[in-house]
Symmetry: C2
Subunit: 689 residues, 2 copies
């Protein structure tokens, strides 16, 4: 219950906080053996520096709470990391393109350059992440969701993991559009790692708000991840709202916006300063006609596109679930993915690169474009077909040139692209490298929307044979398609706003939103898990909503059925021996106290430090005392009954923020639900699927 | 706990729902005396119509749940109401303008026209709303917030209120920029009334999900209110997230977006069809330069503007709290506002209109502009000062002409406008008519931003004497200022996104967001209540966050201290007499059952219908039976202790969605917290401020 009522108490004594903290720190300083050691050099300068630092902290603390500096630092750091990653990736991609161009005329050499470059990068990335931190592979969003739901997974938040994932992700992105993997998911994970590190730092500086800060920083970090990945502050916050398991605490709202604004600003500012542009601009500039973005009746077409995207996403998600199943059960895959990760990555990358070789099938799928160029070309505001008819008149550069370079019609190229990328994307997701799936799915959706838009424009201009439908803008359909398809695959709505923020086309907000809502409706129907849910279930992560989507009745299991071995308990009149036994046999912070072992009526709990104090007390005194004479028995605030379902227990545990919930049956203690216990329960339930 | 675990169970038996419901309805039809009456005419046609309706319901239910049709209807209805209101208001405003123009040359007649028209409209609006439904006056957002927090306030949701508020609001808006009041707040209230009505309708059609639907529809309706007021779907949802008291349930997210998209679409489509524009466009079109929206270093200026807006908002809020206090305590005001509402409205309106008369002080504050024209002129993308220097070159229309019509400099006009509107706005808020305060505050902020921007451009171009700062865009500052000031006054962040959605200027998202966050930080510091909080406290509405802002320690009162008289309870072995007494003396649905009146150990609760059944049972049988032999004693799922604070009890009550929480002390029943009891506790606490 701490996080609910801490604010007023902490606010009440803000005034004298500063002085107190200083005193505390000084006291701890004097106590700490390391700092007061007289053999350390420069005693005097160190004392001066320390004094200044304390003064600085007081000054900073006078403006606002320390956690706000943490949020700002989180935004700025993540924004900077994002910019740095984009810069390195673009340099690596340009190197590849330069080499490929230089080899013009030597087809074999070009083939080798085209295939070996991404393969080698993938091998490097895969072996690097595998050897340093195996937890760094994959998207990371399923793990972040489980952590946001309250479970502790310290492996996924280490600084080693941060470093490994960062380098690994650069490798993955540098492999380019051949491998067709993205940045968002791993970047959200990276951001939570930065957040976890900063919250540790904050709690070092700030002594009183430890447990609160960590959870809040995680929620903010999830938002900042998306925001600084694309410089899109609002959709970052919406993403954070969506990934929270069941309830978004409104008090996180302002920190989220503050931090995402810092992140987006940093990302944009660095882009400006590096010479990418004169001012803060959207990532993908579009040239949609502003006077007449779309006809009102086109809304129907956008709705149809949404349903189409939903249907295609179901197909994609089915393939994805199938490959996850194959990886887990097929002995060949198991062997390769456990022992020969680097080789597997190299081979898959080689296969994908061979298929996309521009002199081979690649010419029919615009494989020369990078991810960014692909998206820019698909979002172009002019009709490709009508422009290609009167190509002689055309003077300004056509960003979609690559789509018709093979000489075949753009409909053919787009269809071929969609068919090929479907299986390539499914295959690429099995690569054991840090990689996201959002951006590829976004581009895929844009291609789907483009095909729909171009087709629609062609059909409508043929049907009505008038000028009215001639100015239909297929770029708008690409935008809506991208939002709808990526929303349907991930079962979220924030892509709709993200698409708007990426392009700055607010005129298309309503169509994109409608397409995304309908695509979501189509893809969520019939208990189909989303992309991330499928990974959660496959990895057996403790994430309740995923379980619920796969098996809706599973979270309704009564708590009584799944409770583990009975927890250690103490009776009111416990003596030295019993307390000693309890302290040795369990590690919980809160140990329940009952009236007597026979009646089992729950009285409350004692804290572990108090028990240790009791033990010391007993050892010094001669007369043996009872537990209730020495320790304070705290009342348990919220009690559960064994008939409550697992889902209810989970909701209450996550909402009230206590360490442990006591399960009682008519006042009698039955069991104890803590976070580790809940994790065990959910992991057990996931096995049943 | 129902709303947390209902979904899986309900989903499990979706397949055979349709048939069952049909059977149920048919059975109830046969039972219902009204429908089976043989004297009613047209038996056969009515049966056919009924059959078709049932079939239609089955068909609709097969596509998606009935509640989704409800959400769509809510969006469409509210969008239509919003459009209709805008249309009527614009006609009334045009009539006033036409009359004023016709009287050109007759100053006295013009004065009478200028002052009497809004005064009469205000008198009509005030007396209309007072005589039909007194609950319809004011903004309505404080009441909506209290209802969203879980309290029932049926007076505020009646259909009479809907009608009264709608007509009253048209009157207020038709009084124009003289009275300077807005539409958002009352429209959110209107939308919740429509939502409450639709949820009743839905629960008639759909028999199984009654209690869930009402709460969900309210959350959605709050979002739809903002969305269809301006055709801004995303900021509507963000507003709904912000007004939720402490936790936003993520399951409301998709319904909110779906409904707001429908609302915004309807609003825009009707605008298009009525001939306002050829396509769906933003409400306030701007002409900001797209190539270079702003220099990166201008971010510092935007941050300063945010802090300035925060400071001015503190001043405004202080005045507003002062006038609320005066109204409550000053005997003259009390007398006028209780007995002579219409006269008071008329007089205040006359005073405000006299001051803004264009031949008097009005010429220095652009009083000829309507609210929309004011905002459009302030958001203009060109510098007013530089343009007025070389006025001879200028050919295209200057939308800010009115600001310099008096011949004095625009700085003077803007400053005068800001100074005058401050007290006028505070005075206008006391009018007993349905009226919002968001839009005036938004315009005020835009003027503040404009002044800052124009001043900044002048100073900077003077300082640097170069071309670099010459192209600074004061419209961007007006945008950020509007967002920041309205955000600071209402303590919300959604105005930042609303400003973007209203103008479609995504390039200014980051500056507007930064200004709004800083303004919020400034205005929230030091426990200052927001505009809505002040009204909540003044009206003694049961809204915990408002209380918390005014007195942070008040919600930390232990529940044990404020619990009312002990609730009626039954012992396990209760007989006929005790049960009869309990049924007569209390109206709760859940009646607690204890082991015995001596031990007071809580066993659970019985439901009221079961007690009535028990009474029937006892009357028919001869042998007297005990309660536990006949009734099922349900276990209480969540228990509280008397040491839990009011805030904790409120959070748990609102989160778990039960009817009643039992307060126990070591297993013994101490009291019962229900929603009415919580309302009483909060109202009592509000008296202490």
């Amino acid at each position: 219950m701490k996080n609910l009522d801490e604010t007023p108490r902490s606010e009440r004594n803000t005034e004298n906080n500063c002085q107190e903290e200083e005193n505390q720190l000084e006291t701890s300083h004097n106590k700490s053996p390391l700092l007061s050691d007289s053999w350390k050099p420069y005693q005097r300068p160190r004392a001066i520096v320390k004094e200044w630092l304390l003064k600085l902290r007081c000054c900073l603390g006078a403006v606002c709470g320390m956690e706000w500096y943490g949020y700002a630092a989180l935004g700025i750091l993540t924004g900077f990391l994002s910019f740095l990653m984009d810069l390195s990736v673009s340099k690596l991609l340009r190197a590849h393109q330069w080499l490929y161009m230089k080899l013009e005329g030597h087809s074999l050499l070009q083939f080798l350059c085209w295939t070996l470059y991404p393969s080698c990068i993938c091998v490097v990335g895969s072996s690097f992440s595998h050897s340093i931190c195996p937890f760094s592979t994959g998207s990371g969003i399923p793990e972040v969701r489980a952590m946001l739901a309250g479970f502790e997974m310290p492996h996924y938040l280490s600084v080693t993991n941060l470093f490994t994932k960062y380098v690994g992700l650069i490798c993955t992105l540098a492999a380019g559009s051949t491998i067709f993997l993205g940045k968002v998911g791993p970047f959200v994970h990276l951001s939570t790692m930065v957040g976890a590190y900063l919250s540790k730092l904050c709690s070092l500086v700030q002594t009183n708000k430890k447990d609160k800060a960590a959870g809040e920083m995680m929620v903010v970090a999830a938002a900042v991840g998306v925001a600084s990945c694309f410089g899109a502050p609002v959709s970052g916050v919406l993403f954070s709202v969506e990934v929270m398991s069941s309830h978004f605490a409104v008090k996180h709202y302002v920190p989220c916006f503050f931090s995402t604004a810092c992140g987006a600003l940093t990302f944009h500012l660095f882009s400006v300063w590096s010479g990418d542009g004169e001012t803060l601009q959207v990532l993908f500039k579009t040239n949609f006609p502003t006077a007449l973005p779309f006809y009102p009746l086109e809304i129907v077409l956008f709705a149809l596109l949404g349903l189409l995207c939903g249907a295609v996403s179901c197909c994609y998600l089915f393939c994805h679930r199938w490959i996850l199943q194959v990886i887990k059960t097929n002995p060949i895959f198991i062997k390769w993915l456990t022992t020969e990760k680097a080789l597997y990555s190299g081979m898959v990358a080689f296969l994908l690169a061979s298929v996309t070789f521009p002199h081979f099938a690649g010419q029919y799928m615009a494989s020369k474009y990078t991810m960014k160029q692909l998206l820019t070309s698909l979002l172009d505001g002019r009709q490709w077909t009508s422009e290609s008819h009167n190509a002689s008149v055309q003077v300004d550069p056509k960003p979609w040139l690559e789509w018709s370079s093979s000489g075949s019609s753009v409909y053919m190229t787009l269809t071929f692209f969609l068919l090929m990328k479907m299986w390539m994307l499914v295959l690429a997701c099995t690569l054991p490298v840090p990689a996201g799936c959002f951006m590829p799915v976004f581009v895929y959706g844009a291609a789907l929307g483009r095909l729909f838009g171009e087709g629609g424009a062609y059909v409508l201009s043929g049907l009505t044979s008038g000028q009215q439908w001639a100015s239909i803008n297929p770029g708008g359909y690409a935008l809506a398609g991208a939002a709808a398809f990526s929303g349907a695959v991930t079962h979220t709505l924030s892509p709709a706003l993200l698409a708007i923020e990426l392009t700055g086309q607010f005129s298309h907000a309503v169509p994109a939103l409608i397409a995304t809502v309908l695509a979501n409706a189509r893809s969520r129907s019939g208990h189909r898990p989303s992309f991330y849910d499928a990974i959660s279930i496959s990895k057996r992560l403790p994430h309740l909503p995923s379980l619920k989507k796969a098996c809706p009745w599973l979270p309704s299991t009564p708590v009584g059925q799944v409770l583990g071995a009975k927890a250690v308990q103490l009776q009111k009149t416990a003596g030295l021996v019993e307390v000693q036994h309890a302290v040795n046999s369990c590690t919980e912070t809160q140990i329940p106290v009952v009236d007597s072992h026979e009646s089992q009526i729950l009285l409350g709990f004692v804290l572990r430090p108090e028990l240790l104090m009791f033990l010391r007390h007993c050892k010094t005194e001669t007369v043996e005392k009872h537990l209730d004479e020495v320790c304070c028995i705290h009342r348990a605030s919220v009690l559960l009954s064994p008939h409550n379902t697992v889902q209810e227990a989970h909701s209450i545990l996550s909402l009230v923020g206590t360490q442990a919930l006591f399960v009682t049956d008519s006042g009698r203690l039955v069991g104890l639900i803590t976070w580790p216990e809940m994790k065990r329960i959910l992991e057990d339930l996931a096995k049943e699927i």
